[in-house]
Structure formats: C-alpha cells, structure tokens
Amino acid sequence: MKPSTRDRVTGIVGPLVVFVAFIAAWYALAYGLDNNFSPASNKPLIIPPPHRLFEDLNGITRDKIITATGISIKTSLVGLLISIVLGLALGILMAQAKWLEKALWPYLIAMQVTPIIALVPLLIKIVGANFAARVIVTVIISLFPIVSNTLFGLRSVDRNLHDLFTLHHVGRIRRLIKLQLPAASPAIFTGFRISAGLAVIGAIVGDFFFSKGDPGLGKLITFFFLNNQSGPMFITSIIAALLGLTLFIIFGVIYKVAVGRWYEESAKF
C-alpha cells in the first residue's frame, strides 16, 4: 500500500519537530552549564553549542577523525561479516533438530547477557588488546539477533508447505534451499539490520577496552575528552552515531531489495 500524502507529511514533520527540540535542549544544556559563550574566550567549553562545534577542528584533529572513522568502519564490517556467517550457520544448525537448539541456546543467551566488561581481562589474556579483540567484542554484541531471527524464520514455515514438500519426497538440504531459507529471508534480513547497528556499537565499545593499534572512534572520543577538546569530541560522537545509522539504513535497503518485491510487511521499516 502506498503511503498517503498525510502519512508522508507526518513522517517528515514528526522527526523534524523532535530534531528542533533536540537542538533547543542542546543549547539550553550548553548555556546552562557554561555561560561563557563568547567566541573570543579561550576557556575550554564544557559542552559546545551547535554553532561552535567546529571551532577546535583543525587539520590534525580532522585527520585523526577520518582515520578513526575508517578503522571503526573496518572493525564493524569485519565483525558484522563474521556474525552473519556464524549466525546463519548456527541458526541453520539449530533449526535442524530440537536437541541441537536446546543444546546451544543457553550458551547464546549467556553470551548475550554477559556484560562485555566481564570478558575484557579474558580477551586480553587470550588475543591481546588489539584489533582481534575489538572484532570479537563486535561479534559478541551483534551475533544474537542473526541467530535468533534465522532460527525463528526457519521454524515458522507453514506446516502445509512442509507437507507439500514431503509429498514430493524432498530431502533436508533441498527443503532448506527451496523452502525454508526463502521463507525465512524477511526475518533473516531483519536480523542483519538489527545486527548492523549493533556491530557499530561493538566496534566503539571495543575501543574503550582494547586500545592497542590504531585508534577507532571510541578511543578517539576518550582522547579528545582527556585533552579537553569538547568540539572534536562531540563531532566524533556524532560520527559514531551516524555510522550506526548509515549501516542500519544500508541494511534496510538490502532488505527491501531482497524481499520487498514479494513480502507484504516490507513497507514497515
């Protein structure tokens, strides 16, 4: 169904109102904490108001931010790719037999609920505080939605369709390829999209704990914070948010391309 003009207007106006409110709250907070909003003053700002965000941004800080963004993108994507491959494999494996699902499920839940910080010393001991550790954190954070959505999707196939395939003596592998995976694909791609956002969170959280190697956005935020560079710190935070959003949107588009043609709920994002 096509959205009506009214739906489209509320779709734009709503977020716009929230954005204006957000900027207003930002100004209120900036000036509430710190009355020193004269550009001439050299005193560092506690929270820079939006229009003074770029004051401290020079060539050096800009290069730092660009490099860190590249590194965070790399960590997120490598982690996400591993999550997708591993998550699909686990989901498919668990869908094959109830006992496999029961055997693996508690450990997935455990992985999902264990605070990352509790695993930090262990990871440092095993792989070191490096890129590999950051990728592992990314995988831990982004794996679960892919496994659970894949499993749920594969298990939710219409019983009658299974019967139809049984009537034609279709084996396990063929059934998986011709019936279960396509039927599960909306759920699977939804899982990818959720995990894409989580992968960015993982990459940035990983930076805070594992600081060896080139700094990603998380580490850079800490660096700017310690150096009292509020403006660049804020910009880096915003880039981190935009990075998550961008990945989420890209996977939304992938979802639409993959299943939008036939899947009814594709209008809902």
Partner: protein, 243 residues
C-alpha cells in the same frame, strides 16, 4: 480401477486422542467423493493418511498410483514466487526437464485461465485467484488421485460456486479420482457422486448418500427439489449422532 482403498482405518494420536475408528472407503478412477462431518471428526486425518502424510494406527491404506495431488484449505503458495513459478514448483521438485516443465506449465495456465496473472506475486492476487493458482500447481503434475481439504471454505459464495464449476470441469477432462472434504452440505452434494458422512470423534462412516445427478452438472441443479432433498438426507445423517 480402485485408486484408493482404505480398510478399517484407526488412528490414535500421540496424545491418545482417538481420531478415527473402523473407517473403510474405496475411491475409483473418475469418481468424485465428498466427505463431510462435524469439525474435529478426523476428515483431514483421512486425507492425510490417504496421501501418506500420516500412518494409520490400525487397518491399511492402499494407494494404486504414484500421482497424488493435494489441495489445502489455504492456497499455501510460495510468496516469493510469482504465479508461473508457483505452478512450476512441483515439477521442479519432481526433477522434470525444463522443456517439459515449461510445456506443462503453459498448458495448465491455459486450462485454469491464469494467463493474465502469470507474473503476479501471491500478495497481489485475490483469494479466488490464489486458490486457482493452488489448483493449477497440483494439476500440473497430472494427478490420478486428488485430495481436497476444504479448498474453497475461505472464499465468498460467488467465487466458491465458480471454482466448484471449474473443478468439476477439470474432473470431466482429467477423470481423476477425488476425495473432497468440505463443511458445506450443498457443496458436498454439488460436487460428489457420493457424500460420505462421518460421526464425531473417533470418526467413522455413519452413512453414504448417493447423489442422483449425472456429470456434467450445471449450476442450476442447486435449485431443484431433488438437490434439496439430497442435502436433507446428508443433513439428517449428520444429526443422527446427536442425543
């Protein structure tokens, strides 16, 4: 030729529900048998045993053909395939050559009048068109024995009557044997040469009503006194088990 022979079937499910008891029925080639009964009486279980989707707990089920078609209550199309590809599905699963697949699909699309919809996806179709596609999907394999599990029950009356006629027309051409489950007495009488009436669970046959109309049937037999009388017999048989 007897295509399906059910002998004293009994079925007890794992939760010890007794679904069927002493159910015996034969279906010949070129015979259309309707099956009615109160809900939960095991009608679907009879179909599922006949199609080999369930095994009986007692008795035997002999099917004398390997070309069996099954039409479900819902169209159960694959939503990611368009009409044409849905109709092709079973030929694909049965490993037919692409050329033969194409020939048969084309023929079936003509037969069930889906020419204008081949490129559409199931979500773009009305309930009637979906069911027509579902019928076509089964027909394409040229079944000799057909099981229908309340296929038209979700449709509006007008569409249902049209599909009744289309199905009877296909029956005339293809001369398959059919076991047709429905919860509509009028539909059972209109479609079948015999109407098998079942008792509540555990389901068994309480009566078989012969339908006195030859094929091909025209829709105006529905409004004859004889049709009403036959429906009355079926209705009466259905009430017999009630206290």
């Amino acid at each position: 030729m007897t295509l399906l022979s059910l002998r004293e079937l009994g079925k007890v499910f794992a939760d010890s529900t007794r679904a069927l008891s002493n159910f015996s029925l034969d279906i010949e080639q070129n015979e259309f048998v309707s099956l009615v009964g109160p809900s939960g009486c095991g009608k679907s279980t009879v179909l599922r045993i006949g199609a080999g989707l369930e095994t009986p707990s007692s008795g035997e089920c002999v099917v004398d053909t390997n070309k069996v078609g099954f039409v479900f209550q819902d169209a159960t199309l694959l939503p990611w395939r368009n009409v044409r590809d849905n109709i092709e599905l079973l030929l694909e699963l049965d490993n037919f050559e692409p050329v033969e697949r194409e020939r048969r699909v084309d023929e079936t699309i003509q037969l069930v009048d889906l020419v204008d919809s081949v490129k559409k996806y199931p979500r773009q179709l009305s309930g009637g068109m979906r069911m027509r596609t579902s019928l076509a999907r089964s027909l394409v394999t040229n079944p000799e024995l057909f099981f229908f599990d309340e296929p038209f029950s979700a449709l509006d009356e007008f569409t249902r009557e049209r599909l009744n006629d289309e199905l009877l027309d296909l029956f005339e051409r293809r001369k398959f044997g059919a076991l047709f489950v429905t919860h509509s007495i009028a539909e059972a009488v209109y479609m079948g040469s015999r109407v098998v009436v079942m008792s509540p669970r555990p389901g068994t046959i309480t009566q078989i009503v012969s339908v006195p109309f030859p094929y091909p049937r025209r829709h105006d037999i529905r409004y004859t006194a004889q049709f009403a009388e036959t429906c009355g017999l079926v209705s009466h048989a259905l009430r017999q088990d009630r206290p």
